[in-house]
């Protein structure tokens, strides 16, 4: 199996605080891995390091074999644009753009015909049963619809890896299950690598493997 993500002796320090301590793990391509742990255990910090949102203080992150410590901020942004999708707990949609525009948003800075960007977004909109919500602003969408838009946005650049930070945390159980099913389908059908931070052990049971984090260390 090919390695998709590899963390080697990964450390992050903020002054005297060390939320990530000597973390080692590997995630293979097409794998669905959950990261569990109590609040304040360093899960989000670890996610930001392996997803290239922040640089590690020590150690290495290899993403598809590429050492992220060698990348500048802008190079990391381009890497995320081309290879990574994000799904956040609070959706983080652009409040002034419609559902369709939010899905196409990661492609705005990409040199690509406007029509092609729109077509890709429309295709995802239809795939997630949101066609009738195309022109709606996020404020006019339900929580589940917002998260579906966010997942569609994460897929618009056709990534190999999707990082999810508590994707069902702000949703009721029924909607949460719907969203989880969508993510599982992506993993199964499209072989997208899923790395998900969650508190929910029931979600962890659905994943291929779980990592447990406590006091900055992963077991």
């Amino acid at each position: 199996m090919n390695k998709s993500i590899e963390a080697i002796k990964l450390c992050k320090r903020f002054g005297a605080i060390e939320p990530v301590k000597q973390v080692n793990f590997t995630i293979n391509r097409g794998e669905f891995v959950t990261l569990l742990g109590p609040s304040g255990s360093g899960k989000s910090t670890l996610l930001s390091l392996v997803a290239g949102l922040d640089h590690a203080t020590d150690g290495q992150v290899l993403l598809d074999g590429q050492d992220l410590s060698r990348f500048s901020e802008d190079e990391l942004a381009l890497l995320r644009r081309d290879h990574i999708g994000f799904v956040f707990q609070s959706f983080h949609l652009i409040p002034t753009l419609s559902a369709l525009e939010n899905i196409a948003f990661p492609l705005y800075p990409v040199k690509m015909a406007v029509r092609k960007k729109r077509d890709r977004a429309r295709e995802l909109l239809a795939q997630f049963d949101l066609s009738d919500r195309s022109d709606h602003l996020p404020s006019r969408l339900s929580g589940g619809e917002r998260q579906r838009v966010a997942i569609a946005r994460a897929l618009v650049n056709r990534p190999g890896i999707i990082f999810c930070d508590e994707p069902t945390g702000n949703l009721d159980s029924t909607t949460g299950k719907e969203i989880l099913d969508l993510l599982l389908k992506l993993n199964t059908d499209k072989k997208v690598t899923l790395f998900m931070v969650t508190h929910d052990t029931n979600i962890a049971k659905l994943s291929h493997r779980s990592l447990y984090m406590k006091d900055g260390e992963v077991s």
């Binding site: 989000s44 910090t45 996610l47 930001s48 997803a51 949102l53 922040d54 901020e73 802008d74 990391l76 942004a77 381009l78 995320r80 644009r81 081309d82 990574i84 999708g85 994000f86 956040f88 707990q89 609070s90 983080h92 652009i94 409040p95 002034t96 753009l97 525009e101 948003f105 990661p106 705005y108 800075p109 040199k111 602003l137 946005r153 994460a154 650049n157 930070d165 508590e166 945390g169």
Partner: protein, 418 residues
């Protein structure tokens, strides 16, 4: 690459923020341009009394007060200026031309008249009355024994062309009537005679020479045309030549008469404009930084999903550019409107007492003379230029402020807000 649709959505959906920024820019530019405009209008107004008589500055010299007011007298504010001093003043760098005049008070047994001698070919001083001829003809070079009378004085004294008037015992035939009210009251009199004859009368007058020495080629009023940028140096040079008692009137003399507020306004206009610009820069920088702070999570999310710092800066700069461009247009319109409203206003420029020709002890002599000047609006192109340059500075400040804040912002911010 700037996404115009996203730009439009941000500006339209965040109306309050867009409007506040736009109004801030507009208000700052309007104040700055308006202060500059007002200062320039006032500066022009202060020059009006001298411009009326074709001069950049006037020179007089204060002297002794005559013991008795009999016969010919020189007012104490116009003592003789020697021909040697006039020649030396003429050689000061920046002096373009000097028009001489002789101002006399003629006290007779039953009457009094203010007499000014001038050269009809001059380009400054009473020679400018050429266009204010009410009847008869204007004095010309070579005229002797001829005089012109002021219209108001002539009407009061029932004097018409052909009338013979006695000045210092000499007969002068009135050949024309001029309306002196059409030029600044600095150079006006009741009777106008040729300069050479005024000099002859003054230098030969026992009553004048009892107080002063008035030489054949002396004068007591000089109207000087000069390089506008060198007026202050020329005034200093004149005082150095003609002595401490010399009174040099420049546009600043009229400004000082209006009191400290006007003097401060014009003196510190650059400071006021500069402070307004700095205040607006700080406000725009603060608002821009607040805007970036307000959008921290949004910018974090943009970075997380692959927008580079440059992409975001370009997008936000485009938003600022649109707001500043509209703010600039509005600011310029407001400033033009203010300037247009000001152009309906007039200001009374007081004439210093020592420049007034009428003795204070005569009826009306104590009245404060003034010249009503309508404030004018300077070229709108200049205003637009000033506005555009200021807007550019404001825009660059906003861009630098936003740019620094965006570059500092980590994409991991978005996870901290989960």
């Amino acid at each position: 690459m700037i996404n115009t649709h996203y730009l439009y959505s941000e500006l339209v959906h965040r109306k309050r923020r867009s409007l506040i920024n736009l109004l801030l820019v507009a208000a700052a530019l309007a104040v700055m341009i308006f202060v500059g405009q007002l200062t320039e209008s006032l500066q022009q107004a202060f020059q009006a009394p001298l411009v009326d008589i074709g001069a950049s500055l006037t020179v007089q010299k204060s002297g002794d007060v005559p013991e008795t007011m009999n016969g010919l007298v020189l007012p104490c504010s116009v003592a003789p200026i020697s021909n040697d001093h006039i020649r030396r003043i003429n050689s000061i760098p920046g002096v373009q031309a000097i028009s001489e005049a002789v101002l006399l008070w003629d006290f007779q047994a039953d009457s009094f008249q203010i007499v000014v001698g001038f050269d009809p070919d001059d380009t400054a001083g009473p020679a400018l009355l050429q266009g204010a001829l009410a009847s008869g003809r204007f004095l010309k070079i070579g005229d002797t024994g001829k005089a012109m009378a002021d219209l108001t004085w002539a009407v009061t004294h029932e004097i018409e062309p052909g009338h013979i008037l006695k000045i210092a015992g000499r007969d002068f035939e009135i050949i024309g009537i001029v309306d002196s009210s059409q030029i600044s009251q600095i150079a006006t009199a009741q009777v106008y005679i040729p300069l050479a004859e005024a000099k002859t009368i003054a230098s030969g007058s026992a009553s004048i020479n009892a107080v002063h020495h008035f030489g054949q080629d002396d004068a007591n009023l000089l109207f000087i045309k000069a390089d506008r940028d060198k007026i202050e140096e020329i005034a200093t040079g004149i005082k150095a030549i003609a002595g401490k008692k010399t009174v040099v009137s420049t546009p600043d003399s009229f400004k000082e008469m209006l009191g400290s507020l006007f003097s401060l306004t014009s003196r510190f206009s650059i400071l006021i404009s500069g402070m307004t610009l700095i205040a607006s820069l700080l406000l725009v920088a603060r608002t821009t930084a607040a805007g970036v702070r307000e959008r921290t999570v949004e910018i974090g999310a943009m970075k997380a999903i692959g927008w580079t710092g440059r992409n975001i800066i370009n997008q936000l700069a485009a938003e600022s550019f649109v707001v500043i461009a509209f703010g600039t247009m509005l600011g310029i319109c407001l400033a033009l409107l203010g300037a247009w409203l000001v152009s309906f206003q007039s200001i009374a420029i007081p004439i210093p007492w020592d420049m007034a020709p009428t003795p204070h002890f005569l009826p009306g002599g104590e009245e404060q003379l003034s010249r009503d000047v309508r404030l004018t609006m300077s070229s709108p192109i200049k205003l637009i230029g000033v506005g555009a340059v200021s807007a550019l500075v404001i825009g660059l400040t906003a861009l630098i402020t936003a740019g620094r804040a965006i570059i500092r912002l980590k994409p991991s911010e978005v996870l901290r807000n989960e």
